[in-house]
């Protein structure tokens, strides 16, 4: 019961310790952060163990006045993502070990606070708590980019903040609307997701609710063409920032779609599915092509994220078990593989002070270990079998094929495009004549190797035993795909729905329901 609370609290305590130890040397903050994230990782493993039996939950009243509860719950999906979060948390601390030399304490405080927000998002079963975590991620990330970022950091930080903040607005209004409708229908007010799911909404209402939620989540995912904040943010963030941005923050958007948007407004999801699928597929190719045209290492990887996330979103909206599982897998894999690429990009930038491919080349001689890691991550990114990415993409393609054969065929070619840019990453840095920029390049240190080794291990495990991710996904049946691979309960049968744009009255004419006024305040 307290396990989940501990999982959320551990980084918070770490942040407090790191913050209060500001008078001591930088090592104290690093070790505090490592201890906190390491403990969190341990807890996450324990959680995975428990979740195999049944979902783990803890709930206590938080804001009874509005029916919000501090309700954390971990089913398979949450547990997997929590594990990913804590794993990347450790990696983020490790990779920052040598990179961050300025304001070390503050850095780790923000890093850990960020993790708190992400964990809240993945664990919350209460809308207010979810949204609380959602917005809590903003400020730490803003600081990570804005203070420890690279040359164009302020522009990118502000862009990131404005985009995600604006997106979340629509989400909030939609959620409040569902909350209100639920209260009206059931005579009790509650922000619990489980309760809100019972709300019956007309198709028109669902259309609007889904639209609102979708905008919020799609910006975060980011779905083409709302992605424009992402390349800048990724490029300018410090290594750990890019890692967490790609590995986790984007996943919160997908998770929101899975956990909230699609279950809450299934008819809306159905109606939007054709459009979303179109955007997702467009994103796959668009991201890959634009990635190929980049000269900046991090920008390339950032655009590749758009492509990969296209697979994820596609998997969600084709509405079958394979797609759903593929999307989940791909979330994990993308976090690990793209995270790894960002680590390499960060390490390179730290050593060569440039991210431009033209400045690299022939690096393998000086940094064979780094080369091996880069090769692995690039191969994972292009979906080589043996890494999780292959399975994720295969599931999505298979699901798409099952849904509409031509969709599967189109999507499959995304893999080819992925190969183009992934190989470019590798060849442009490691191969070719030796570049003068990197004459005195050192190979990776053991801390960096450890950080990347964690990611490699994760990718290989998922690649051969994908059941570690997909097997626990089947709780609870309300919102997840059932065990036997039937269609998910939430989006029973996606068909090209007729899109009816309804109109909402500007100002409500009907008298407000009397039952919810509070007599005590009434004069």
């Amino acid at each position: 019961m307290t396990l989940l609370t501990l999982i959320v609290l551990a980084p918070l305590i770490g942040a407090l310790v790191a913050g209060l130890a500001v008078r001591t040397g930088p090592a104290s903050a690093r070790w505090a952060a490592l201890a906190a994230t390491g403990a969190d990782l341990l807890l996450a493993f324990i959680l995975m163990f428990f979740v195999r039996e049944s979902p783990v939950a803890t709930s206590m009243p938080w804001i009874p006045a509005i029916g919000a509860a501090f309700h954390l719950e971990a089913d398979g999906l949450s547990a997997v993502l929590v594990l990913l979060t804590t794993m990347l948390g450790v990696v983020a601390v490790l990779i920052s070990w040598n990179e961050i030399t300025r304001k070390v304490h503050a850095y780790h405080v923000w890093l850990l606070l960020l993790q708190v927000g992400i964990l809240l998002v993945f664990l919350a079963r209460d809308i207010v708590l979810f949204y609380f975590g959602w917005e809590l991620m903003l400020i730490p990330m803003f600081f990570l980019i804005g203070v420890w970022g690279h040359e164009d950091k302020l522009y990118s930080a502000i862009k990131f903040f404005l985009f995600t903040f604006t997106g979340s607005i629509f989400m909030l209004v939609a959620l409040l609307y569902v909350y209100f409708q639920h209260a009206r229908q059931y005579g009790m007010y509650s922000f619990e997701i489980a309760n809100l799911l019972k709300t019956s909404l007309t198709e028109t209402e669902q259309w609007w609710v889904f639209l609102g939620l979708f905008i919020g989540f799609a910006v975060k995912v980011p779905l083409f063409p709302l992605h424009t904040w992402l390349p800048d943010a990724h490029t300018q963030a410090p290594t750990a920032g890019s890692l967490i941005l790609a590995g986790l923050l984007l996943k919160t958007g997908v998770y929101g779609l899975m956990r909230i948007a699609m279950p809450l407004a299934p008819a809306g999801a159905t109606a939007f599915a054709p459009m979303v699928i179109t955007l997702a597929v467009a994103g796959i190719f668009y991201g890959a092509l634009v990635a190929f045209s980049q000269r900046d290492f991090k920008r390339l990887v950032a655009y590749s994220s758009i492509s990969h996330l296209g697979f994820v979103v596609l998997g969600l909206f084709i509405g079958n078990a394979a797609g759903w599982q593929g999307a989940t897998l791909q979330m994990v894999n993308h976090g690990l593989a793209t995270g790894g690429l960002f680590l390499i990009a960060g390490i390179l930038q730290q050593r060569a002070h440039t991210r431009n491919f033209d400045m690299y080349g022939g690096l393998w001689r000086h940094a064979p270990t780094m080369g091996a890691f880069l090769l692995f991550f690039a191969m994972a990114s292009l979906g080589i079998p043996g890494t999780g990415n292959f399975i994720g993409e295969l599931y999505v393609i298979g699901g798409a094929f099952q849904f509409k054969w031509w969709l599967g065929v189109i999507t499959a070619f995304g893999i080819l495009f992925a190969a183009a840019y992934s190989l470019r990453v590798f060849i442009a840095t490691m191969h070719g004549p030796e570049s003068p920029t990197i004459k005195h390049m050192n190979d990776t240190t053991w801390v960096e190797n450890l950080a990347m080794g964690i990611l490699v291990a994760g990718l290989i495990v998922v690649g051969f035993v994908p059941r570690v991710v997909t097997a626990p996904l089947f709780y609870p049946p309300d919102t997840m795909v059932p065990r036997d691979g039937r269609e998910p309960a939430t989006i029973a049968a996606i068909r090209p729905g007729q899109i009816v744009i309804p109109s909402l009255p500007l100002i409500s004419a009907e008298p407000p329901p009397a039952s919810f006024s509070t007599p005590e305040v009434r004069k």
Binding site: P61, W62, I63, P64, A65, I66, G67, V128, Y131, F132, G133, E135, L136, L138, I139, F142, F143, G146, V147, K153, L154, A157, I158, F161, L162, F165, T166, I169, F170, L172, V173, L176, Y177, Y179, F180, A183, R184, Y189, L504, P505, L506, I507, S508, E510, P512, P513, F516, S517, T518, E520, V521, R522, K523
Partner: protein, 467 residues
């Protein structure tokens, strides 16, 4: 006797203010200033105690001019608390501490009357007492031309607006023949406001007057100039308690939503959008906060429009919550910024290096700004959540959308403050920060409270008896 008990806070404030004024004329040095400061706090605290111990719904006092329902008492206590906070945290002028504190107490008296007014006359009186004190407080440092201009502007425009307000009230009175609010509400509901065109018009003019006091669009033009001209704590007071008091006084007129709802809707929407848009490229910190305060009034009006509707928390409850949340942040921000000494208007560039010289102060400013922007874990987040939740519950979908869009625009200038605090390199050799331990501890306590209530908002709801 019970009437006297009801009036006790006002009496304490009036006499206490005068006492402070008289004591302050004698001599002025640091000891006296501190004495006067603590005396003022004691007076305000006494009034607050007296208020808190007033039984709700006890007899109306002074022919129904002052009433005490639970909501009025809550409001009154809130304003007195803000006032006490301001007295403690503000840097009183050396040369005229007596006048300074006395005027603050008088202003508090005005707010107290406003918050508990039971009659149109009391409302007018409260507004005017408050305004008169503020005129002087704004131009307190009258050697500065800006203070002078700001005071003049506020005086002229406030009087202009008051004239609208009182003329509107006159029309209402001419239409319904009563000044008593309860009576008025009853007559309005029995007669129907639509059948009294003169009263309709009167209330329209009344809204003009109120809109000015709230700095709602399109009566917002003064805000930027006046806030910039005022001493920091006074600006905080204007933005928080003064507006809150007007809001409190406006609550009995909730029936207006039925007849003037469209107007209020427009004002709310316009405030949220225009306020944030005006601040977008502003570089002077106080003006930024002034523009943001325009937007915040727009948010509050959403709660007003929702009235007693709302799931969980009603619009009115959300308004009260928001007034507190906003007051903590804006008063904190203005006061904290007043610690940064400078000989010109405070620009965002002047904030460079604050984080290095005084990390605590910078962090507190950060918390205040986050709260104003409505981002967790600060209390401002829940304030907005409640307001918009009530708004949605009352059927206003687009107002929250507009409001949140506005706040997204607003984030841009809030971020500019944060960016300059933390992220802009470059030295700022002219930076001088001065504060007393008391001041900084109050600021830190405020920031801590914002975060605490931001994580556990229920505690505040319980404290305010909003459930």
């Amino acid at each position: 006797m019970s009437q006297l008990a009801t009036l006790a806070p006002d009496i304490i404030m009036a006499f206490g203010g005068t006492l402070v004024l008289l004591l302050g004329t004698r001599r002025s040095d640091k000891a006296v200033n501190d004495f006067l400061r603590w005396l003022s706090v004691i007076i305000i605290g006494g009034a607050a105690l007296a208020l808190a111990y007033t039984r709700p719904n006890s007899l109306p006092a002074a022919e129904g001019w002052i009433i005490s329902s639970s909501i009025n008492i809550v409001f009154g206590v809130i304003f007195l608390a803000i006032l006490a906070w301001t007295v403690l945290a503000a840097k009183a002028p050396e040369h005229a501490a007596g006048e300074w504190h006395a005027l603050l107490i008088y202003a508090g008296n005005g707010m107290l009357i406003l918050a508990r007014s039971g009659s149109l006359a009391a409302l007018f009186l409260g507004i005017e007492i408050l305004s008169l004190s503020l005129y002087v407080l704004i131009s307190f440092f009258c050697h500065r031309g800006m203070a002078l201009r700001g005071g003049t502007m506020y005086l002229v425009l406030a009087a202009f607006a008051s004239a609208f307000l009182v003329f509107g009230l006159a029309l209402v009175y001419a239409s319904f023949g009563t000044l008593d609010l309860a009576e008025l509400a009853q007559r309005v509901s029995s007669k129907g406001l639509f059948h009294a065109p003169m009263a309709m018009l009167g209330f329209g003019l009344f809204i003009v007057g109120v809109g000015f006091k709230l700095a709602a669009v399109p009566f917002h033009m003064w805000a930027a100039d006046v806030y910039e001209a005022s001493p920091g704590p006074v600006a905080g007071l204007i933005a928080s308690a003064s507006k809150g008091a007007v809001i409190a006084a406006f609550i009995p007129f909730l029936f207006l939503v039925n007849t003037h709802g469209d107007i209020l809707w427009l004002i709310s929407a316009a405030s949220m959008i225009v306020g944030n848009l005006m601040g977008l490229l502003e570089l002077r910190v106080k003006r930024i906060l002034a523009y943001s305060s325009i937007a915040h009034i727009g948010y509050i009006l959403v709660g007003y429009l929702a009235g007693y509707n709302g799931v969980g928390i009603t619009g009115v409850g959300a308004m009260i919550f928001y007034v507190v949340a906003y007051a903590l942040a804006i008063a904190g921000a203005f006061t904290a910024l007043s610690f940064i000494e400078r000989d010109h208007e405070l620009g965002v560039r002047d904030l460079r290096g604050v984080a290095r010289v005084s990390p605590a102060l910078a962090f507190c400013i950060l918390v205040f700004i986050i709260s104003l922007a409505g981002i967790p874990p600060a209390i401002g987040f829940f304030g907005k959540l409640y307001l918009f939740s009530a708004g949605v519950s009352a059927g206003y979908i687009w107002l929250p959308v507009l409001g949140l869009l506005g706040s997204a625009i607003g984030v841009y200038y809030y971020l500019r403050i944060i960016v300059n605090l933390y992220m802009t390199p470059g030295e700022n050799p002219n930076l001088k920060i001065s504060y007393t331990p008391l001041q900084i501890s109050i600021i830190i306590a405020t920031a801590a409270a914002i975060v605490f209530f931001g994580c556990f908002p229920q505690t505040m709801i319980t404290a305010l008896k909003l459930f």
